[in-house]
């Protein structure tokens, strides 16, 4: 059994290597045939080989007067990444919690909800990007506009999703709670909330992509640190190697982020049923 699964893993790994190797190989081959220049689309061996040189650009202290210089390049890289990640996490958490609260309040207090819901529905389709000038007017430059925009990217979606999920909670749950003498508040906190959280968490994960995109653009337009500022800097100065390295870093961080949320979902929301089934291969 276990040797079978090890064998399975090895085959998977070999195929992974072949696939990625083929992808990189085509990239390198077209480059070496001279189809495009390194200034245009540098192949992996060039931009990865330039890595030690490029790491210095992660240090924004030279651009920002008064900021202490990072002790090493790796420190600078860590600082840039963590600036972005902290903004995403703060914005996501605020948006998720306030969205769930707003959605529940809209359904809990009927009159208040009827008064609030149309305005929320009106504001929801405004792309978070359109809020950018407002975010900058309101919060200036720094962490706040980026967090605000991540918040916006999640808040309205989660609010509307929470309402939809509350409406879709099985009637049986509510009836049983009522028969057992639960008050309205108890029903909301102990029955409805755990019933809607798994669905909302999935929606949060789906929107992680958008939130991650918003933070990068907010950083490039309304901040002077973070990965978004780095990519924009690379684009402005026409540094293709730095562009590719920025892409790699953003890809890796995005991947880790998604795996983390997946893990949290599995651990914390353990009562979600897992969907199974498959076609014959």
């Amino acid at each position: 059994m276990s040797s079978q699964s090890i064998k399975h893993r090895i085959t998977d790994f070999v195929w992974w290597c072949i696939s990625i190797g083929l992808f990189v190989g085509i990239w390198e081959l077209t480059f070496s045939m001279g189809l495009y220049s390194a200034q245009f689309l540098p192949p992996p061996h060039i931009f990865l080989g330039d890595l030690p040189n490029q790491l210095q650009h992660f240090d924004f202290s030279k651009a920002n007067a008064g900021e202490k210089a990072a002790s090493s390049h790796y420190h600078a890289v860590a600082k840039t990444i963590s600036a972005t990640v902290i903004r995403v996490i703060t914005g996501l958490s605020l948006g998720f919690i306030l969205g769930v609260i707003t959605g529940s309040v809209i359904r809990y207090f009927r009159w208040f909800g009827k008064l609030l819901l149309p305005t929320v529905t009106l504001l929801a389709p405004i792309s978070p990007f359109a809020w950018l000038p407002v975010a900058v007017f309101l919060f200036g430059i720094g962490n706040k506009p980026a967090i605000f925009m991540v918040f916006l990217a999640v808040y309205f979606i989660i609010t509307l999703a929470a309402i939809a999920e509350i409406d879709a909670v099985q009637k049986n749950y509510l009836n049983v709670a009522k028969i057992m003498g639960a008050t309205r508040l108890q029903t909301y906190v102990q029955v409805i909330l755990p019933a809607i959280l798994p669905g909302l968490f999935t929606i949060l994960r789906l929107n992680l992509f958008a939130a991650w995109m918003v933070v990068l653009i907010a950083e490039s337009a309304g901040s002077d640190s973070g990965l978004g500022a780095l990519v924009m800097l690379a684009k402005m100065t026409g540094a293709p190697n730095l562009v590719m390295i920025g892409m790699v870093v953003i890809g890796i961080v995005g991947f880790i982020f998604d795996s983390m949320l997946r893990y949290v979902q599995k651990r914390v929301l353990y009562w979600i049923p897992e969907v199974q089934g498959s076609l014959p291969k």
Partner: protein, 280 residues
């Protein structure tokens, strides 16, 4: 039960619609009047938060900023409303073309991955590798390859959707009830027939929902690409508003972007209802 509390003698649907409309008007007018009140009481700085009557009344002045020809020193081209419509059209068209290409592309690649195991093993790891890269990171690459204009914006919409939707196609295929394939096989369907006549119609509705969920991201990436300067569109206007600290223009553009986003979502919803009628 609660609908009985409406003691009107009108058909239920009409009453429901009327009550929704009344609540809508009440809610939105409350929101706007609070905003206007803040302005009237001088709590909100009109330079930063102009109330709706201010940013909507200056249509002529704001509309001029949408006109690229004035910046090149040409005479203003036609009506203000027409200029604004052209700007909106440029952005919308980019989103729609990108959406269509990504939908078809991811459907084809996704089905091909499951249809041919060899192809899948070669391609899937690359897709998994590239999927978490944010489209923003692709932005400089898009501009290096395609330069300016429509092509990089459409490419970015494609990138924003293609990887997600290919992975969604795979998970939809994998979660199909096995009975479908078994029935098709018992009835003598070949592998190709099963994929075209059973799998494809079974996953289309789900994939369309995924498309609708990601419309938001696609719409945003076009605005961002325009803001960075692929040329024209609503994103550019947002950037002008931010750089010139023109709050009237900012709020007016927000209003337009919200309206367009709403209409696009409605449109996709309608298509979903009409075309994919077999989904429940």
């Amino acid at each position: 039960m609660s609908s009985m509390s409406n003691a009107y003698k009108v058909p239920g649907r009409l009453a429901k619609f009327a009550s929704a409309a009344i609540w809508w008007i009440a809610s939105v007018s409350l929101f706007i009047s609070i905003w206007e009140l803040c302005w009237y009481m001088k709590w909100a700085n009109p330079m930063l938060f102009p109330p709706p009557h201010l940013f909507l009344q200056d249509l002529y002045f704001v509309g001029k900023l949408f006109d690229k020809s004035t910046r090149l020193g040409n005479p203003t081209a036609g009506l203000i409303v027409w200029t604004i419509a052209k700007t909106i059209g440029a952005s919308t068209l980019r989103v729609l073309i990108g959406l269509c290409l990504a939908f078809v592309g991811s459907l084809l690649i996704g089905i091909a991955i499951r249809f041919s195991p060899l192809f899948g093993r070669l391609v899937l790891p690359v897709i998994n590798l590239l999927a978490p890269v944010s489209p923003i990171a692709w932005l400089p690459v898009a501009m290096l390859i395609f330069g300016l204009g429509n092509a990089p914006a459409i490419f970015l919409v494609y990138i924003a959707l293609f990887f997600i939707m290919t992975l969604a196609t795979l998970s939809l295929i994998d979660s199909l009830p096995i009975a479908y394939a078994q029935v098709a096989r018992i009835m003598g369907g070949t592998r190709l027939q099963i994929f075209v006549q059973v799998v494809l119609p079974a996953i289309l509705p789900g994939l369309f929902v995924v498309l609708r969920l990601n419309l938001f991201a696609a719409w945003m990436i076009v605005l961002i690409a325009e803001a960075v300067g692929v040329g024209g569109g609503l994103g550019l206007v947002v950037m002008i508003a931010r750089n010139t600290f023109d709050s009237q223009l900012a709020f007016f553009t927000m209003f337009l972007i919200g309206a367009v986003g709403f209409v696009m979502d409605m449109g996709l919803r309608e298509i979903q209802r009409r075309v994919l009628y077999w989904a429940t």
